[in-house]
């Protein structure tokens, strides 16, 4: 008699937690959520390069605990994450501990209950927990991205269990991230960015944007952050309370984005005090800097498109900052088909 829970953990075909046993009956229910042909190829997961089809993605979605209606998001995410500029291969092998954070926008995200409000980065929300977990199980089982095998990660991150949120559209004073990229408000759009766990920035004092954003900018500029030392992505999830302070002072989402891109950073002299500063690294930046001038300002974001500014979380005086990876991964955006 096989204990299926122990079997999947022994193989190992899990992330360390028990998985829902994939049976033919459960798979049929999962596949009923898509009109796509089960053997349709989607791609290969690096670095092991095992193929993923609609059927294999559905198996992993059900193992992760997804409801069938979550499958279109999983299927939509895979081709985005396999784009060359996302560099999944590099992240699977890196010493760093970033994870592909999925920011799911559009009416379908709300329809299936992805949480962008209180506790959105934490436990308790099935869609957030299982959609990101489905992706992770594929990165492990098909890509071989296991620590100590294909992955040289030093710490990894809790975000490698799951990393899936939406924005708090109900309390955001601004348009969504997707709309800021040119999509319509009712488009179902997914953004994926390779980032570390969120670092919480509390500020229950500031009532004006200048002071508030100065503090948030400080959280974006740690000496040991790769954002300071290479072109890296970053996700800043402003709590709706912080975003509202800016909006009431007349700042649009684009204004806050611009403020942070222009003002978050450190001088060369400051960076030399600790962390990853190397002159030759600064010379690789895609922007002109003078590494021999201690007064030269080094912005955290080397290109404005690398900052994904969203409004998420519950009401309260906090913003979450996710730093990025050094190895060259660019955030990806695209439609996902809720009817697929």
């Amino acid at each position: 008699m096989i204990d299926e829970f122990e079997f999947f953990l022994d193989k190992p075909w899990s992330d360390g937690l028990p998985v829902v046993t994939p049976t033919e009956a459960r798979l049929a229910t999962m596949l009923a959520a898509t009109r796509r042909y089960p053997d349709e190829p989607i791609g290969r997961i690096p670095p092991a390069m095992e193929p993923v089809t609609v059927r294999i993605a559905a198996i992993h979605a059900l193992m992760a605990g997804c409801r069938p209606e979550y499958l279109p998001v999983v299927l939509g995410a895979l081709p985005l994450m396999l784009r060359e500029e996302f560099n999944l291969n590099g992240v699977q092998g890196t010493m760093h501990g970033v994870a592909p954070l999925m920011i799911v926008n559009g009416p379908y995200a709300a329809h299936i209950g992805i949480n962008g409000g209180n506790g959105c980065f934490g436990p308790g929300f099935r869609a957030n927990a299982t959609i990101g977990r489905a992706i992770r199980l594929m990165l492990l089982n098909l890509g071989g991205g296991m620590a100590g095998i294909a992955s040289a990660t030093i710490f990894a991150t809790p975000m490698r269990y799951t990393a899936c949120v939406t924005e708090n559209r109900g309390r955001s004073p601004w348009e969504s991230l997707a709309v800021s990229k040119g999509y319509a408000d009712d488009d179902d759009v997914l953004t994926c960015a390779m980032v570390e766990s969120p670092r919480l920035h509390f500020d229950d004092v500031s009532q004006a944007p200048e002071r508030l954003l100065t503090g948030i900018a400080d959280g974006m500029t740690a000496l040991g952050s790769w954002n300071m030392h290479a072109r890296s992505d970053m996700v800043v999830a402003m709590g709706p309370q912080h975003a509202t302070i800016c909006e009431r002072a007349g700042m649009s989402r684009a204004d806050v984005h611009r403020w942070l891109v222009e003002r978050a950073g450190r001088t060369v002299g400051d960076l030399k005090r600790g962390g990853n500063w190397r002159r030759e690294r600064a010379l690789q930046f895609p922007i002109a800097v003078d590494p021999d001038d201690d007064a030269c300002f080094i912005p955290t974001l080397k290109d404005p498109i690398d900052l994904q500014l969203i409004v998420a979380g519950g009401w309260g005086p906090c913003t979450a900052i996710c730093h990025g990876w050094s190895g060259g991964s660019r955030a990806v955006h695209g439609h996902y088909d809720a009817e697929a």
Partner: protein, 100 residues
């Protein structure tokens, strides 16, 4: 308890089947004298320094006839097939460096 063939399990193998043939490791030479060695610089800082130091030691101490050092496009990306094929044409051994 994991010895049952996949077809007899009461549940589905979540992988693509795992039927690809295993790739055998190449035989290791017992002697480096007269050999050509390829080295791949992964572009991280000081990787080249490590490789050049090794190349010198291999020539001086082990009689390696030639060391070819090539640089990848970026440390986070695999070496291209073209680069690997080029090195395989000439070298009997390869060393990949990790700098940083």
């Amino acid at each position: 308890m994991n010895e049952l063939p996949a077809a007899e399990l009461p549940f589905i193998d979540p992988t693509a089947g795992g039927n690809r043939p295993a790739i055998m490791l190449a035989a290791r030479p017992m002697d480096l004298a007269g050999k050509v060695i390829a080295m791949i610089d992964n572009t991280k800082e000081q990787g080249a320094l490590i490789l050049e130091t090794m190349a010198q030691a291999l020539r001086e101490r082990y009689g390696v006839s030639k060391v070819i050092i090539r640089r990848k496009e970026h440390y986070s990306k695999p070496a291209t097939d073209q680069l690997i094929d080029e090195l395989a044409q000439e070298a009997q051994l390869a060393v990949a460096a990790v700098g940083g």
